[in-house]
Subunit: 417 residues, 4 copies
């Protein structure tokens, strides 16, 4: 096992750990760990809500989730010699749930959860259809997830970090705050909001304290969106064996990571989202000096996925176009067409006895593929969503005998938003 | 070989064929061909511009392409007993370039083309960056495409129909015209336009003539966008072996198809787009009575892709977020984030000696994957584009030695828009 | 379509064609066709028994099959400039059943057959268990095979030539005759025989006639075994897109091919075997001068399989060791261990209602994988056979509810040997 | 983490552990561990030579390896309620190198080894060509293996147990001893031997002692060969996620396992063989009562491989037939034809600068595929070996420019046998 450079104790909260990480992006958060190019090391990662979500049959914890506190990240990790303009090579040697702990109260201890936020808390991709808070617990065994809340389905985990990235420079941070602030200003009272401004409440900035903390907390960026530094990309294919190339914006690169997922469908459509868990990452780092210019990678990570993603060979696919449910024609809106494709998939699965929220949860957590199939055929973009048929323990294909009927069981816990 | 129920002669134009197809959607276009559930049959398909694009080194034909005339479709084909509310099963038994003809002036005779329209003609996904007309010729051999205009790259074709679908009912057609008209009305003089209204000029409606033709031509829907009936979905995975389930809106279903592609990347980002060709489809049809309600498929096709898509196992991937090139923050715009991911890929490939338009053409024609990776992390969606590294005849991965330099050769023909 | 350099008329027998091929290996068989490095061309191929096997429900034709007449091969094709010591590159641009003919009396016209020979005629891999003649007819549709004789199973074809190779030199031919004669001499009256000596009866040697024919027919090698020149390798992975490198032993290489298979499991265990058919191959050839020495390829083809083999992702596998059914321990006999693995698979499938011969036929024709898993663990080698579960239309996995029962239908035609 | 029911301390020898396993098969070895159907648990496994092989540059330890002491196995594990006639379901939840230990003197602590035995010690698959002892050390990082002894190659591990199985009944053991003894008797002084008889020297039989030990040691079966109980099958595809079904021959089934491999090519052709290591397995067990008869599985395991085997999509393949290097024709000898295919692959790789033993080691350790391609074409069987081209860091395909030249570096340690 590589040396654990960022350890976590599952029994303690994020801020009570020996090394305290952070939940905002800011160049001034001091590096907690120092490594060299060529080093391999292990990092523990806390589940993104720091243990606030429980392995039970109520969605109240999702309804009341401490949104200002996310994402609790491990880092920053300084890589010796990395300078602005370099590309930081990060090899994901391994990633998984909390090692040696397969039962316990913390997500990652043999289980994880998928949630849907109430609209008042930010909602999700299909918040108009699912305005309340919902939660599903998934059990892990043998790299496979199953759930008492969604019977009849099991799938091999596609384990990955939802969030990893380098620290922004001060300039880049200012750019973020400026452009996101401008967006918010177009509709400042919107529910859910258009974006999340800096929020000193619940900010954790590693070892920063006092005035330094106050200043940084007031301007540090929230971690929800992916940005030029990578960040919360929620790319399900950053699995074991993946090599990522991050732009470097500050000395030492200041790499951080967290928000581990046991599995996720493309889009993480349920928002809270994927199968959330704590766990570990084994990483190897290296540096391509001046690589940003050499390879034209000035922003956003590029990557080469690993070779051991779960293999499925039979898919049932749904398509959608950029027409709203209400019948309004939108112009090449791939976001909308993906929503419509997902809704079509949900409509289909409910014919087999699932509740709509069960179907939604499957799409959020299973390794479905979401593709931008057509983006130019005005005015309709076409998005498609592919569900592996082999994840169901019954025949999910259309046929002349009509759909098999699943016993939906106890269903998905819900808390009115 | 299944019986050819819709034959085409490569030496004659679309309207000079024995059976004349159509290039608009309208319920009143008479069925040209009648088949029964359980039948297998062959359909010839004309390339979408009916031969107007030539195998040469000029993009003038793309600049002056007869846009009002597209897509020249084969059909309608009536399936006996199919009624509104049924699901029409269409098995793609085979699909390919023009059989027995591997040289000649018609795309599909051993070659195909990828084009980019000038902005004044509708542009493409990246029209701001590529405002002129461009064309690339691809040669087919052994199921593999190569191009004198884009050296250093070859890939196995992922052959599919860009367009297939059933006829709309009169009500559905009215809905289309209404909602698309409303969109156009929001900015009627936009270049490129938001959508394309019915256009009697160049309309071809099969055997309709006289007053029936005039009436139908005035209201028939253009074929560019995908809609509830399937249509121009440009789904690259509708390859040989695929089973598609189409909603039926009129008696006999009235299936039509065309716009064959030798290969395409997700999104068909170059618009004209994919590797365009004429060719053939072998189809088998069947009907699930009442299947729309039984399976909850009230609109948009669902499908099960075939098992013989080309296999690649090493990918280089690029990510993008919903921030414009000008730095403006947009709200969860997956269309924009896919544009940015594609632009990142283009920036990268140009470091290897390709011109930007060559890189763009690779993304349009090669079997790249475009995924909606994150759609909920406000305000940034995250889209990703995956390029198989094995399509290049050099090492395209980032490394410490810097990028290999390709000889870009004569490059991509361009005609100023 | 590439030029047809070796045409066949489905209505005529092999010897009545315009160009007559051959069914023996001999360096003096004149080239019938001349091509150049870089050329692409089409070759028609006759099914290996030249039409003697019929689409009916009797195995009499298999029992009485004209064994001396096989394999009817297309060629030889001389490649300009190819000389002994070169490597001949052969790209399989395409391969398939008889084009444009999907019904008719000739295998390849929409159907094919799998046979098992009676022991007296050579038997097969499991001739002790299946001593008679058996036949299964498979229907092709959409690249998928199904059979009235084996219900409940369908699979995507893995189309390939069973036989392709270059002509032997006179010296190499003498070597073959010498070593095979020595083997036969060890047990000359064995049934089935150990090997097949030259057999002038039914020999077809292209345009050779008179004394030249007599001399060559007396020494020409039978085509059953694969040898240094490639030949009847029965490698199921020589599918479309494959590049093969053959050693060149005579001027012009003299390439020949035939014995097309719509599908086959590893080993072609039923002997007659695979799904036999006539059809076509589109080929592209080139030459690596001196390549045999440069690459150390002095005998036996090397190859790179195509990228579009059918994809399956769930397999049920059986293992066997080198102990005979009678309980005798053999020393590292991978042939025997594969027999035992296949017998285990057959035992398993019969629990689902199949007859043993139906199960045997599935193993012969479906794209099963046969692997040499352990070859050193004295005294037992371990071979394994992998069956894709997705080819069955029922759940073929072991479970607590016991095996599903298939209706075996009319079963497999049999003729007592 | 599942409960560790069979723990090992890396710093102690096999016989000094708290629970002592066994290295022979015998029904009377007492179960060391008791589990129930439905249980999940972790087992530590010692590398098969119990630490006798070192991470250095000498092959002396391979030359002098303690052959009588293998394989040191973890178990037996009794499964409550399992009875003769049942099928034991074993799910491989996880398998890997020694957890939390990535450096140290024991194989499995971040490294492993591949060895070739001297002929006097049993040799290997190609012992005529490689009569001495050889050793290669592989380093593990990120699930990928590389070696200072074989430059230019790296590959993703296909981690699996070489050996797992249930205990034989007394009758079955007697059968083994009888048939293997009969084989040995045919050539009792052969070097290497035909099989290994019971050998009390170095026998370890768990908690057995005294007269019980003496009696059992005299008749207990060696663990080298796979047999009806599974055992040393060396199936490279028993990776994470695999479900195996073992016949049960004694009450409690008495499951044992060991001989973990980080990677291996089909056949484990180098004998010592694969990349050997210690490590762990997480297992889940269940029972199908009476399953042996219900499913016709009376001997040898059946299994369903996991979904996360490493994916490669471009292969270079070599074929061989059953003719000896000396030119003798053998009858349908798939063992020989696989040897010849492997030798062809070695000949090829040596043209790129590798020594023959380096090439041999690649075939033994990398995830190559070995297939029984043709087993009926008398007198030649055809075997094929497929090497993924992507494991080389140079272009290994044949071309017109001739082979790239690798710097072979220090090469493979050798000790004369």
């Amino acid at each position: 096992m590589p040396e654990v450079v960022f350890p976590l104790d599952s029994t303690k909260s994020f801020t009570d750990q020996r090394i305290v990480g952070h939940n905002r992006w800011h160049p001034d958060i001091p590096a907690q760990v120092h490594v060299k190019p060529g080093d391999s090391f292990r990092v523990h990662c806390r589940e993104w809500f720091d243990g606030a979500i429980h392995n039970d049959d109520s969605a109240d914890d999702i309804l009341n989730a401490p949104l200002n506190g996310v994402h609790v990240l491990s880092g920053p990790i300084a890589v010796e010699g990395a300078q602005p303009g370099d590309l930081l090579i990060v090899d994901i040697l391994d990633v998984g749930p909390i090692p040696q702990e397969d039962s316990g109260p913390l997500a990652g201890q043999g289980w994880g959860y998928t949630g849907v936020f109430a609209t008042s808390n930010g909602g999700g991709f299909l918040t108009e259809q699912f305005p309340d808070a919902y939660k599903v617990i998934w059990d892990f065994q043998g790299g496979v997830a199953t759930s008492r809340h969604v019977p009849g389905v099991s799938f091999t985990g596609i384990v990955h970090p939802g969030l990893m990235g380098t620290a922004p420079s001060a300039d880049l941070l200012a750019t973020w705050n400026s452009r996101e602030g401008a967006l918010i200003a177009t509709d400042p009272n919107r529910v859910p909001p258009l974006a999340l401004p800096p929020q000193p409440d619940s900010a954790i900035l590693g070892s920063l304290s006092g005035a330094d903390f106050e200043r940084a907390a007031a301007e540090a960026a929230r971690t929800a969106p992916p940005r030029e530094n990578g960040g919360n990309q929620d790319i399900k294919n950053l699995t074991r064996g993946t090599r990522v190339f991050y732009p470097v914006f500050v000395d030492g690169a200041k790499l951080s990571m967290g928000d581990l997922h046991f599995s996720q469908g493309d889009g993480e459509i349920t928002f809270c989202g994927a199968i959330e868990m704590g766990g570990f990452m084994d990483l190897h780092v290296d540096v391509i000096k001046g690589g940003m210019q050499t390879y034209g990678v000035t922003e956003n990570a590029i990557f080469m996925p690993g070779r051991t993603d779960p293999q499925y060979s039979e898919w049932l696919a749904f398509s959608g176009t950029s027409v709203t449910l209400g019948g309004e024609q939108r112009y090449l809106d791939s976001h909308l067409s993906y929503q419509r494709a997902c809704l079509h998939a949900i409509d289909y699965l409910t014919q087999f006895g699932y509740s709509a929220i069960q179907a939604y949860m499957i799409l959020g957590a299973a390794p479905i593929e979401g593709r931008l199939s057509g983006v130019v055929d005005i005015p309709n973009s076409c998005s498609t969503v592919y569900i592996p048929t082999e994840i169901f323990d019954f025949d999910v294909r259309p046929g002349k005998n009509g759909p098999h009927q699943v016993d939906p069981g106890q269903g998905v816990p819900r808390s009115a938003g």
